[in-house]
Amino acid sequence: MNKFTILLRREIWENINSFVYLPIVVASLCAFFLISGIGALQIGGGSINIHADIDYKSDQMTQTYDVNDTFDSLVGRGLQEFASRPEPSKRNALNRVYLGISDPLMITLRLVIIFYLVMSLYQDRKDRSILFWKSMPVSDFTTVLSKLITALVVVPAIYLACCMALHLVLLLVSSLSALGHDVPIWSTLWAPAGIITRWLEMASYLLIVGLWCLPFFAWLLIISSRAKSVPLAWIIGLPFVLILLETIFSSTGYVKDFISDHVAPLTMAKDLERGIGPIIDRVMNVELLISLVIGLAFIVGAVLFRGKADEL
């Protein structure tokens, strides 16, 4: 077996709970709420008369329905209205739904990566198992690289796989609930959802965000490889000092903007609703290059610290 593959497997073994079981639990909960929600409405709603004024805001117009009907026929009419909408409108709406249902997984992923990186080069110093790992012919560079690749590729891939499973459940459940409502399922729910494209876009997005946030992730690796303990003070300390210095000595906001955008690229997550194009446009500039350079410098630092690292 390839030496690097076994290092990645090692990371999964150690973090099996947060890498594998946690996303399965989160995805299952999402699927459970989805199925039980729609199911309850299907079963319960079918026989209950409801009355409501619904303001329905589409991309083009605002309509007010006066509903005095069963839920079942409400779903039917909603679906028929949706089916009659133009293609781009359907695509946008479904895009938001599919991304929205992925949010819990994506937020969990982000937290898991941060926590993992902070502990990755610290835990074995604390429990002294570093003495065992260092007795193996694996270089410090390869070790640090395996942690980074785990955070940038392996864990996102596992979470993406859970998203994909969840999307398939959503596709299936929405198709089932559309049965009997006289709407063309393929052109209403399947084609505009374009889930294969969605998955490819999410995969690209996760990789791009990983590179965009490399300064932050590599900073966590440095802390992890060096700190005697890993208090929050270390992680936010330097960024805070940098921002403070900028505020005192200059009126610009470059450092502050750079740090906040590369720690939590929220606009990028928002951009994903419009596809991967705007995100690629946004990162394809010198700022990405700067991020990569800063990130690589931090990685070199982490490798050097790892080389000198001993048990705590």
């Binding site: 290092l7 497997r9 073994w13 150690e14 002294r128 007795s135 193996m136 000198k308």
Partner: protein, 285 residues
């Protein structure tokens, strides 16, 4: 090549403190070397230098290469146990086997599995489910299944009870030692490894105070249980150590001809522990 480690002017400083001060020694292929010294003598600095775990000054060759070229290169041909029981607690036994098989070309999984089969350790267990003694057995089975040219043991039995300590060294000698591999053991529990060793290195305050093959100890050192009436005469021969027990005086002499000593009392080869105390007290003076 018959030298496994050659140190020439090996020096290690921490600021003004010299943990190793211009140390010279050679370790021959197939030898079992005891690196013996009190706490803070420079044992761990010596071993860390050999393993490529730390920077140092001077010349050091381990299996023909400079360990400063990188720990991971050293570890392809050298194995070390810093302290048994440092296996990560989350690791499963089967995962440990997979891991070492994946990263170390010299690992024999079959050998490790055979050794583990003789214990109560099951492949599905995690390290945290094992007792301290079992973790020792596991660590030893893993490391001893790697074929390397040099095995470095730094206080390997610290904190273990006597049964496991004895089993550890028995296994080391019986299952592992083949006169091809060289072994360096650092410890201050001298008595336990005395019978194992083929070579002695005493280290104190960063200096080597004794460097001798075990078999030539008898040529250089002699312990005499001195007859009471010979005490003054014995003192005149400059013993390096005088010990009094149960009213008897026993003295250790270095490089004094046996013909001078024989009239003084009963002669025998001093134990390594007594020699250790003798040499260190002398160095302290």
């Amino acid at each position: 090549m018959s030298e496994v480690v050659v140190a020439n002017g090996l020096t290690k400083s921490y600021g003004d403190f010299r943990a190793l001060d211009d140390v010279n020694f050679t370790i021959e292929k197939g030898s079992i070397v005891g690196l013996i010294g009190p706490n803070g003598a420079g044992k761990t600095s010596t071993l860390k230098s050999i393993l490529g775990l730390t920077e140092f000054e001077g010349e050091l060759e381990v299996l023909g290469t400079d360990p400063r070229k990188g720990r991971h290169h050293v570890m392809e041909r050298v194995c070390f146990i810093a302290d048994v029981g440092v296996l990560p607690r989350w690791l499963k036994v089967s995962e440990a086997l997979d891991y070492i098989e994946g990263v170390h070309a010299g690992f024999s999984r079959e050998k490790a599995e055979t050794m583990l089969a003789e214990t109560n350790i099951s492949p599905k267990q995690r390290v945290k489910q094992l007792s301290k003694g079992m973790v020792t057995q596991l660590h030893l089975a893993l490391i001893l299944s790697i074929s390397v040219d040099l095995l470095v043991l730094d206080e390997p039995t610290l904190g273990l009870d006597i049964l496991y300590r004895k089993a550890f060294y028995d296994q080391l000698l019986n299952d592992y030692f083949d006169h091809e591999t060289s072994i360096i053991i650092s410890t201050h529990q001298v008595e336990e490894i005395e019978s194992l060793l083929s070579h002695l290195l005493f280290i104190d305050q960063g200096n080597i105070v004794l460097d001798s093959p075990m078999e030539s100890l008898a040529d250089s050192f002699c312990e005499v249980i001195v007859k009471p009436e010979q005490t003054d005469k014995a003192r005149g021969l400059n013993p390096i150590h005088i010990r009094e027990s149960l009213g008897q005086k026993s003295m250790i002499f270095e490089n004094v001809d046996r013909s001078y000593l024989e009239p003084l009392g009963d002669l025998h080869v001093p134990s390594v522990a007594d020699l250790f105390v003798a040499k260190l007290q002398r160095a302290a003076r």
